[in-house]
Subunit: 330 residues, 2 copies
Amino acid sequence: MSVTIKDIAKHAGVSYSTVSKALRDSPLVKKPTKTKIMKIAEELGYQPNVAARSLVQKKSYTIGVVWPSVERVAPSILITNINDILERHSYTTLLSINKLESAIATFNRFQVDAILIFGENEDDKKRSKIQSTVPILYYGIQEGSYFPTIDVNRRLAIKLAVKHLKEIGHQEIAFIGELQTQDPLQREKATGYLEAMNVEKASDLPNLVIPTNGLEVYDGYLAAKSLLTNNKHVTAIVSGSYDLTRGILRAISELSLHVPNDLSIISYDNIPQSPNIEIQLTTVGVPVTRIAQSISETLLSIIEGQELPESIILEPELFITDSCSPIRQQ
Amino acid sequence: MSVTIKDIAKHAGVSYSTVSKALRDSPLVKKPTKTKIMKIAEELGYQPNVAARSLVQKKSYTIGVVWPSVERVAPSILITNINDILERHSYTTLLSINKLESAIATFNRFQVDAILIFGENEDDKKRSKIQSTVPILYYGIQEGSYFPTIDVNRRLAIKLAVKHLKEIGHQEIAFIGELQTQDPLQREKATGYLEAMNVEKASDLPNLVIPTNGLEVYDGYLAAKSLLTNNKHVTAIVSGSYDLTRGILRAISELSLHVPNDLSIISYDNIPQSPNIEIQLTTVGVPVTRIAQSISETLLSIIEGQELPESIILEPELFITDSCSPIRQQ
DNA sequence: TTGTAAGCGTTATCAT
DNA sequence: ATGATAACGCTTACAA
């Protein structure tokens, strides 16, 4: 049986409402009694009952996160960041790995203060029928969503990368990424590349667009091997993800090529780079900290009843470092 | 503002206590009224308030899962399985990605019915000071835990693999896995290998124990490449994880070797194999479904107040298939 | 400055 | 078969 404020009240010889005030650090209670009560609460290992509080306050200081994929690294780091920020604002995050509908129903029963959905597939955002008393924020592809959405402009990110490479003289710029996929996030990147290269479809640049079968290190390795052995004119590679890039770098070093002298590389990336990579990478994307900040702020303002913006698109930045150099005019 | 049973009562022209009974499908209320009430609840989009119920019932039908690592594939699949089983028993799982102490505190405030900890590091289980009214079950290394623990016998798993290979005539049996690691789960596997090979330490078999820098596909690939180019006598490989095995298979095929004719392979594995792998693998381990079943059952019986066993160790099985063949006597 | 009491949405125990 | 009511643990006017 757990400790309640009544238990504390008995021990302290005060009424339980005084205890309640003391614990919430109300100015209506004297310092000495306050500290005495605090101490007793501590000793008894008191934990406030969320159910009781949220019943009367109609507020649970909890944010529900719909997390249908517990496996990807990038969103993992993102949710960790968000969690940290919200914690500082004394909110707790709770994740559900159930399907969208059922997760939302659960969170409604729990009366969480807001729901954050990590978008997985196109269908998610289209479910207009979903009922929720609790306000919802959606993180994923913006287009056509029925929920207020925060999105990262992946298309522009890759475009920036290609443009930068063109500006410093590159022409044979390859793209390595997932192409034949249902994942709209990946498709956006490919589209960005094609637009920046001024072509319609991937088949217009058969020697420069190398589709992968996944986003793992090994997929990048295979793609780069195939690219570099079949096409000797490539001077730059744009990579669709950090893991792919790691594989690409392995392939490059196996072929005794050098970055950036023989090849320039720009990697799409949100997450902070692990330092054990061989070279300081030029990256393009929205830093995870900025995404986390933006999502957290929006969540908080939604909770405070602010009229929520229909959609927020975060614009990417290019972080130019060693892995990228101007092409020597021949 | 969300719909309550009082709202439903008004619409139905009955008292709210009748509504409560009807919704819980009590035999104390007539069919017609019951269906009428159900229908209205449906129409109004009623969701029961967990806070209110758990306050009076002292039961939330919720299990809190401490999930410090939101990134690994194997535990992801496990928690998904557990979630499914518990759902069938009308329990909801909620994950917290906070640190152990703070996650447990949160779940206590939420009055969840039980807490499941996914063990990450050695320290976790040693924290005897942790206060929790809610019963806790720990999944991870059993040894020295202060919580009731469910563990998988990884050491025996690898031993079984080595023994089987020996029985069918192999002698030069290599092990590829993570060695210099803090992760006790990985260390157990290496220990199992060393014990089965009757040696003290890894350095006693320098040509057969190949440590990796991680558990990714590429790590397996690199290790196998190095193993097979430096040691021509190897006839069998035991792999510490499924992803490593995928890399090992790549390396083998690049060297134009054939499984199982040139090399037998046994892979440690819990998760069901993805069908797109080239060969049906001989695996050893406890199937994830059995782990999930065992954890769920234990959780449920803990909740029902059963005296909980101090620790449960799940024993591995060997699944022999194509990737493993007897050695030809020379 | 402290105590009293009402009420949050639900279940459960009594009456009716 | 249905309704009235107390209780769960807490916050918050309001009274003292």
